[in-house]
Amino acid sequence: MGKSKSLNGNIYLKTVLFGLPSIVLLLLFVLGPIIMTFYFSFTNMSLTGAAARDTQFVGFDNFIRMFQDPSFKTSVINTIVFLIASAVIGQQIVGFLVAYLMKQKARPFRRIIGILILAGWITPEIVVAFVWFAFLSDSGTLNIMLGFINIEPIAWLLKFPLVSVIFVNIWHGAAFSMLMYQAALDDIPQEVEEASKIDGANAWQRLWRITLPIIKGSAVTNMVLVTLQTLGVFTLIYALTGGGPGEKTTTLPIFMYDQAFVNYQLGYGTAISLVLLVIGISLSLLYIRFLKTD
């Protein structure tokens, strides 16, 4: 008895010792800034002007102003549309389809397709933005191709700005989901699939009854990751459209940047970032809850 107790104590001590550095770092660099953000969002902190020297506590002023600001509502709607269309639907479905279709195909085929799709993912956002800016421009590749079938050039980023950035983000991010699903699909025991085949299940039934339920956990994890990544997308949109024309592609990160670094209202900007944080946390909790119900 006594021996095992001291052994337990030893393990406990080791756990704490090994965990300590990462706990300290997390407190310092993750929790610290979150608490600061929380505090700053209740001040009139400014990048310049008198308020930069003398920052004052202003209570809920920033939040009242935010909820009265139609641009805030527009950005929330844009953010949700962008999130659902490009991440939840776009990247998930494209990623899954590619992974599913590539399953059990010849190795060279998987390699080539995999590399092509990964290329979009490893390209830095700013480069992706420039590539697509050129591709979608008046005399860009897309309009030249459309010209072959006698379609007049379309100013994509002007006429369909949100659709364009959604499409670009799917192109950029689908590889991540593809990797997640590839790993998940490879983990499905072959015996299960073979057994269902012998029992006479068709391809559709196998996908719906066998594959999807088994990879559900991975799907939810992927959903959380992709959602958080997409909520934070800034460079791609900022470089492609700057949030415009008008406010058609202004998502919350762009709106936050404009308030904090164009209007110099840091306090207001941090208040917006807090809302973004709350949205991220709520969505993650929602997904995890969804996973637990079954």
Binding site: L17, T48, G49, P245, G246, F261, V262
Partner: protein, 445 residues
């Protein structure tokens, strides 16, 4: 793995963690700069500034044994430069000794405590009397102290392509007397050029849209943006609506640039370095610095530019007032409060802005004695442009100005893209400014 190995492993992990933490906490307050080095930061690319500074540096280093002047370019667009320099000025570790500062940011940055007042130093400097009085207003903080030395001033006007206008039967030199004259000229050349009239009209151009386009219009009406008597922002006025209607007319009648590039951040460069030299722009409402691009040392040398391009003053709406209107800003050299070598920095500014040295490209000079020099007057159109200073106006760059200005840009872009009518955009502007600066600081005409 035996016990000994495990202990070693545990120790090294702990050691690494402590090292990491120690590294994070260090570096406070220590400046790597030596007492004999001054650093000056400027908005790049700007070859005129760079070559001027290099000459001043050579002279200063020759005159002051052991002193080094470090010229640091900050690659940046119009919108990000103030942020980058503010972030540098906030810490003693990164604050340069001299910062090239837009007069727009000078008042708020002085109020924020980022800049050091230099009134005492300037009053002891005999050259200070040679600077234009109007330009000195641009470097005065709200507390009445001077916070910088002006290095340039600027005006805005209508650059136009003589060849294109003449071909359309418009007499040159062109002297439009009202907005209608400008629109009529643009209409006349509509089919001859890609861009009949260019003006900054998007949020991406930031302040350029407010200053080069909107204020050039608004200041030509009978309305103001800021009421100096009451100290309030005018959020709704007849002139504001008329200005938006002018912009609306330009874009609804296809007199402006194609919107697919015309409201992006790259548009200004495309117009001045590509389309104008090609003769594809009829009229450009823009700054006097535009011709700097076409000099031998510019971004897009165009030796024959004088044969094709001329400049004229922007008329007021119906020819009221002086009949002409322009808006001025300009750049200054300022010393951050957290600079390490303030005295040496001021000595360098004196050298750089002396009568013999202050040659900043084609920029309008802030010094009266330089403006009288023959080689200054010989620069193309320089005399004509300098005359604009007689009827110029300055921006109300108070603390709230950046917010008011970005709401102006939002309204202009909305009208430009046809998202809102001028009336709707005015209504939106009123609401936005009331919310952003507070209703106690606004009024309606």
């Amino acid at each position: 793995m035996n016990t000994f190995q495990k202990r070693i492993l545990l120790l090294s992990v702990l050691f690494l963690a402590i090292l990491t933490l120690a590294a994070c906490g260090g570096g406070e307050g220590k400046s790597s700069k030596s007492a004999n080095e001054i650093e000056i930061v400027y908005k790049a690319p700007d070859e005129s500034f760079e070559s001027w500074m290099k000459e001043a540096k050579e002279q200063f280093e020759a005159e002051n044994e052991g002193v080094t002047v470090k010229i640091t370019p900050i690659d940046s667009n119009e919108g990000d430069y103030p942020n980058k320099t503010i972030l540098m000025m906030r810490s003693a570790d990164t604050a340069p000794d001299i910062v090239m500062e837009d007069s727009e940011g000078l008042k708020p940055n002085a109020a924020a405590g980022y800049l050091a007042p230099i009134t005492d130093k300037l009053e002891e400097w005999e050259d200070w009397d040679h600077f234009y009085e109007a330009v000195k207003d641009g470097v005065t903080g709200e507390d009445g102290e001077f916070y910088g030395v002006p290095i340039s001033t600027d005006v805005r006007g209508l650059w136009y392509n003589k060849t294109v206008l003449e071909k359309a039967g418009i007499e040159t030199p062109w002297n439009p007397e009202s907005w209608d004259d400008v629109l009529a000229a643009a209409e006349a050349i509509k089919d001859d050029v890609e861009v009949p009239i260019w003006m900054n009209s998007g949020k991406a151009m930031g302040e350029g849209t407010t200053m080069q386009t909107f204020l050039m219009l608004l200041n030509g009406t009978d309305s103001d943006l800021y009421n100096e008597d009451t100290g309030k922002w005018v959020v709704s006025s007849e002139g504001f609506l008329d200005s938006l209607k002018f912009i609306d007319h330009v874009y609804q009648n296809d007199l402006g640039p194609s919107l697919s590039w015309g409201i992006t951040g790259q548009a200004g460069a495309k117009v001045s370095t590509e389309l104008m030299p090609k003769g594809e722009v009829g009229i450009a409402l823009d700054g006097n610095w535009m011709s700097g691009n076409w000099q031998e040392s510019g971004n897009s040398p165009w030796p024959e530019w004088e044969d094709h391009i001329d400049i004229t003053a922007m008329p007021t709406m119906d020819g009221q007032g002086d009949g002409k209107v322009t808006v001025s800003g300009g750049w200054t050299l300022a010393i951050p409060e957290k600079a390490a070598n303030k005295d040496l920095a001021f000595e360098f500014i004196k050298t750089a802005t002396s009568k013999d040295n202050l040659r900043y490209g084609t920029a309008l000079t802030p010094r009266k004695d330089i403006a009288e020099l023959d080689d200054y007057q010989q620069m193309t159109y320089q005399q004509k442009i300098t005359e604009f200073l007689e009827f110029t106006t300055y921006r109300p760059t108070y603390d709230e100005y950046p917010m008011v200005s970005s709401n102006i840009q939002k309204a202009v872009e909305a009208v430009t893209t046809g998202t809102l009518t001028p009336e709707e955009a005015l209504e939106q502007f009123k609401k936005d400014v009331n919310r952003d600066v507070g209703e106690d600081k606004t009024e309606e005409e």
